[in-house]
């Protein structure tokens, strides 16, 4: 039998270890942010957002095309990933135990674990090769396909935590099944689903590999969906492996802007989880 003192000491030590683990878990993010701010903040200016890339040796220059390109790609990805993902999530939540549901659930987990470069190859095979050229559409499709499993599973989870009693209350009021699913269950879970969607967006916004041979990158201004388009991660990659110091500085700034976009999206996700009446969902 341990003495009370010994038990207090063990308890104290274990609590200390968990605190340490908690600090270590957030440390990488803090270090990255700190490093990016130190290296990139000086290169971020208004011009960085509004100017086009300049040739080596010329001062100034920005990543306006890459920022717009990344936003365009995210837009395309959402148009593909959200409807399919949310729809599949609703299916899984409604038909929990059918063989098809089991198969879909398993396959979407596999898809979730698929290396992102494979997703790029897939988009290249089906969209780039037949068209004969790289395009924003192909890049967006690759990112959208990556979003599908993420959105599917969060949608399913969020719908499943809506209490059965709410569903029953709606059915007992004479709501048909489909109205119950949409007006009550889906609406109750909406904030959570929106969060999941934004997390998925944040996740794919920084992807580089699937864009290498789909969106390809573009040194010029292009908003055409059928043409190669610039993207922040690609631009950062190109600049970072170049031998020029100015480009290195620009790459740091680009990384800072990219992480800021992801951070803003994550904050937006936190914001929408507050329901219409101000009560946080989680």
């Amino acid at each position: 039998m341990k003495t009370l003192r010994a038990r207090h000491m063990t308890s104290g030590a274990m609590i200390g270890l968990t605190y340490l683990a908690a600090v270590l878990a957030t440390l990488p993010l803090i270090l990255i942010l700190w490093h990016l701010l130190k290296k990139g903040a000086t290169s971020v200016s208004l011009a960085f957002f509004t100017n086009m890339p300049k040739p080596v040796g010329e001062a100034g220059g920005g990543m306006a095309n890459a920022i717009v390109g990344t936003l365009t790609l995210i837009g395309i990805a959402c148009m593909i990933g959200l409807p399919i993902g949310v729809g599949a999530g609703i299916y899984l939540a409604e038909k929990r135990i059918t063989p098809i549901a089991h198969a879909v659930r398993f396959l979407s987990d596999v898809l979730n674990g698929l290396p992102s470069i494979v997703m790029g190859i897939f988009a290249w095979e089906f969209l780039v090769r037949p068209a004969g050229h790289f395009s924003a559409l192909a890049g967006g499709a690759a990112l959208g396909a990556m979003m599908i499993p993420l959105v599917t599973r969060t949608t399913e989870e969020m719908l499943r935590v809506v209490p059965v009693s709410l569903r029953e209350a709606a059915l007992a009021l004479g709501y048909p099944r489909w109205r119950t699913s949409i007006s009550v269950v889906l609406r109750t879970a909406l904030a959570g689903i929106a969060t999941g969607a934004l997390v998925a967006v944040a996740r794919v916004a920084g992807e580089t590999a699937p864009l290498l041979f789909t969106a390809f990158g573009n040194q010029f201004w292009s908003t055409s969906l059928r043409q190669p388009i610039a993207a922040l991660p690609l631009q950062i990659f190109t600049y970072a492996i170049s031998p020029y110091d100015e480009w290195h500085a620009q790459a740091w700034a680009g990384a800072l802007v990219l992480i800021s976009i992801v951070l803003v999206i994550s904050l937006a996700a936190r914001f929408v989880t507050r329901s219409r009446f101000g009560a946080p969902v989680d």
Binding site: S165, A169, G174
Partner: protein, 275 residues
């Protein structure tokens, strides 16, 4: 606290008996309800009278709630659950061919054990939810305002919520939420109201309010209430059904069932020898 004495309100029961010859409201014929292959209630044939409160009592797991949920076709919403036999409400079979479960549920109100306000809707929208089934309307019109107000009055909640109709229903207390659910059920003017242990999760004062409400509702509708609480059954009901292991053991006038039960099992239960 209310006095825990098993005494029906004799005055009320007697005047009602003399004033109104009893008409049938709900008729069940060989009603058997299964979960998978296990029957939860077995071959129940009975008649529930109109414009009266009928209580269903019995130990946990005896099939009280299942019986109730067969009366508005909620039982079949559970996976692998099914129903045999028939239920007739006000002369028409609710399990008949061509009868739509959704339509049945619109005419038979139901309130559950735990309050179930819709969390994304305001107080007003909650009460109006049953009225909006046929439309996708979000804003209330004049007629709807009136119906909502009347339903809240009847549920005894109007004075407490009239200044906060557009606020979230989640801000109400448990007792208020439950009366909101009753108002929601009343708004569609059902002929029959089913209450599944409506006071089980409420404090004594809120329970008392709900009981008083149930007592008043019998003037305009048929009420069937499932309860764990025998005192409650005695207080609010005209008739009481005793269920045991899925079988209907005894169904009598409440004062008779509690004072002179015919079946020894009923007597054993109401005197607290089991359950």
């Amino acid at each position: 606290m209310m006095p825990h004495v098993v005494t029906p309100r004799p005055a009320a029961t007697e005047t009602r008996e003399s004033a109104q010859p009893e008409k049938a409201c709900i008729v069940t014929r060989h009603l058997t309800a299964y979960f998978g292959e296990t029957p939860a209630i077995k071959d129940i044939s009975t008649v529930i009278p109109q414009l009266a409160v009928t209580a269903i009592i019995g130990p946990s797991g005896c099939g009280k709630s299942t019986l109730l949920r067969c009366l508005n076709r909620m039982h079949e919403t559970v996976p692998n659950a099914r129903v045999d036999g028939d239920v007739e409400i006000l002369g028409s079979s609710i399990y008949g061919e061509g009868t739509n479960a959704t339509a049945v549920r619109r005419h038979v109100g139901m309130v559950f054990q735990r309050p179930t306000p819709f969390p994304t809707m305001s107080i007003e929208a909650n009460v109006a939810a049953g009225l909006r089934v046929d439309s996708i309307q979000r804003k209330a019109d004049q007629k709807e305002h009136e119906i909502v107000e009347e339903a809240l009055h009847r549920a005894g909640l109007w004075d407490e919520v009239k200044d906060r109709l557009t606020e979230s229903a989640m801000g109400l207390s448990g007792g208020q939420q439950q009366r909101l659910c009753i108002a929601r059920a009343l708004a569609t003017r059902p002929r029959v109201l089913l209450l599944d242990e409506p006071t089980a999760s409420l404090d004594p004062l809120s329970s008392q309010k709900v009981e008083e409400l149930v007592y008043q509702l019998r003037e305009t509708m048929t009420v069937v209430i499932v309860t764990h609480n025998m005192q409650q059954a005695a207080r609010v009901s005209d008739r009481t059904a005793f269920l045991l292991a899925g079988e209907l053991i005894e169904f009598e006038r409440t004062n008779q069932l509690f004072t002179a039960p015919k079946d020894p099992r009923t007597e054993a239960y109401i005197t607290g020898r089991f359950g």
